[in-house]
Amino acid sequence: METKIIYVDNNATTKVAPEVVSAMMPFLHKFYGNPSSMHFFGGEVSRHVERAREQVASLMGCDTSEIVFTSCGTESDNTAIIGTLEALSNNRKHIVTSIVEHPAVKNTMAYLSKKGYRVTELGVDRQGLLDMNALKEAITEETALVSIMYANNETGVIFPMEEIGKIAKEKGAIFHVDAVQAVGKIPLNMQSSTIDLLSFSGHKLHAPKGIGGLYIRKGTRMRPYLIGGHQERGRRGGTEAVPNIVAIGCACELAAKNISEENTQVKAKRDRMENWILQNIPDTILNGHKENRLPNTSNIGFEYIEGEAILLLLSKAGICASSGSACSSGSLEPSHVLRAMQIPFTSIHGSIRFSLSRYTTDEEIDYIIEKLPGIIQKLRTISPFRKGNMPSL
């Protein structure tokens, strides 16, 4: 393991904020009571769980009763989609989703289509933007559920939630949003939103792994996905993961406090790095819409070389990023997101995602800028392909 760690893979997971660690520690050391218990020891713990719910609700701009804690983003997505479909009061069997969803949604859709649901997957353009006309056409009075991500994990491209929600509402469809990448980065106000259900995950916003949450608009019918006790108002059985709940509460409070200032800073660093790379390293392409994007994400295609090789050399220099290349994921095809965007074949295998956080420093950006050209140059020397010598296809 390298001693130097330049962590720019925050869309994969984030560092737990020191404030969050401090907040959750007493619930590992001292306050181990069960919030459901009648005694004072459990009651005290219960108050902290509810305090955390307030912190989350405050970031979301919603009522505390609308927040359910889960174990992760995937559980939230599964609960939202399957739980609402099972509680449907109509016979609608059609679902609208996008082609670039996270596997937590994408594979749930595949499961549902086997169960007899008709699933429409909306495509994206070269910039990663949704085809809104197709969306308008796709959502009909037969549509039970519309499930679209807020922001894409690979490119950071943001979809127009309220516009989609308005169309869904007009047709009486439930609107679920996988906002795992958006919460903490994009200000939310659920009260004035058309979103019915919104999934989020703790470890993407500086809380630990193992905690997620689901916003459920008041009045939304839903069967519990985890059947058990009365916890979470009977909407999610299982003893509350108290330390993690306290942690996500603290993390949401931190995010709410600093969201605009942090995003300006993070965006400035991201833009400096991105512009430098695009201007100084030849044959590089930005994947995803330049403006309509999360402030922390940059997905860059390096033509004529392969992503896993880039990652391994970056990793040797202590730089942690990720790639949508086939080889790094263990599948043989590049990521479904980049393929859906029809990224050119010269760069799709060499696409690297850099995702920053509030902890990314200017020195780290300098270090990346210093190391990257040599790495790209080295692999381009090894590659048989370069501009002008591409075989005809």
């Binding site: 290349s325 080889c327 790094s328 090894i382 392909f385």
Partner: protein, 288 residues
Amino acid sequence: MWDYSEKVMEHFFNPKNMGVLEDANAVGMIGSIVCGDALKLFLKVDENNKILDASFQTFGCGSAIASSSMLTEMVKGKTLDEALSITNEDIAKALGGLPAEKMHCSVMGREALEAAIKTYRGEKVQEKEEDESRLVCRCFGVSENKIRKNIIENRLKTIQDVINYTKAGGGCTSCHTDIQDILNDVWKKDLSQEKEMKPSAEPKEKSIPLTNIQKIMKIQQVIEEDIKPALVVDGGSLELVDVEGNTVKVKMHGACSSCPSSSFTIKTFVQRILKEKVLPELEVVEVK
């Protein structure tokens, strides 16, 4: 993260023989940028068909680059025939093993080597489109021949094995039934071949009865061609005296006539050969 061996990392971080070999006289290129990996192998071959130098250019992941680097080290100093005996498994072994999903990187090395040597020898290199067999995997352009070859050479048993070694089936998965059919076909054929080895010992004419004269002529022929030459080695010989029904009467000559084990020879050797080659019902007896 992949569990790459130290050897793989060593050859990836510090690849040997990378770049164009200016005075190369044998070049082989395999793969394409669309598929995600490609290898161009350069060899310098002398007049005695010995590989004096080798280099590579690779577009691909860590293990593709490491496999290419290792391959160039392995072929240097070898004759073309010796080099051709290097299998993809040899490349993987030399690297201290490759993750199963990465075995296709070593296959690419072996294929580039074949392509380079074929080009040098003026033989036709089978480009994908020239490969006469049908295209099975459209995502990665893998032909049935390539899949069959890899199934047999690497004893692949499952679709996942085929994906790991050839990439075929690793995309849209629509060819999985085709791949399963090929797997079934290869292994069924192999099993039936094993079976046939034994049954084939039985004469094919079993169902068509021989006439007497055909039977005698066939026995005479087998004695002359298969049995006598073997007995001569031991200084003996044998003569066909008569055939009555399925009883073959023979007389031993030379060393065989006085050999205490001549009846053993007749039963274990002469009778067995005649049963195999003429008729299973035959019985051989010795007449003095």
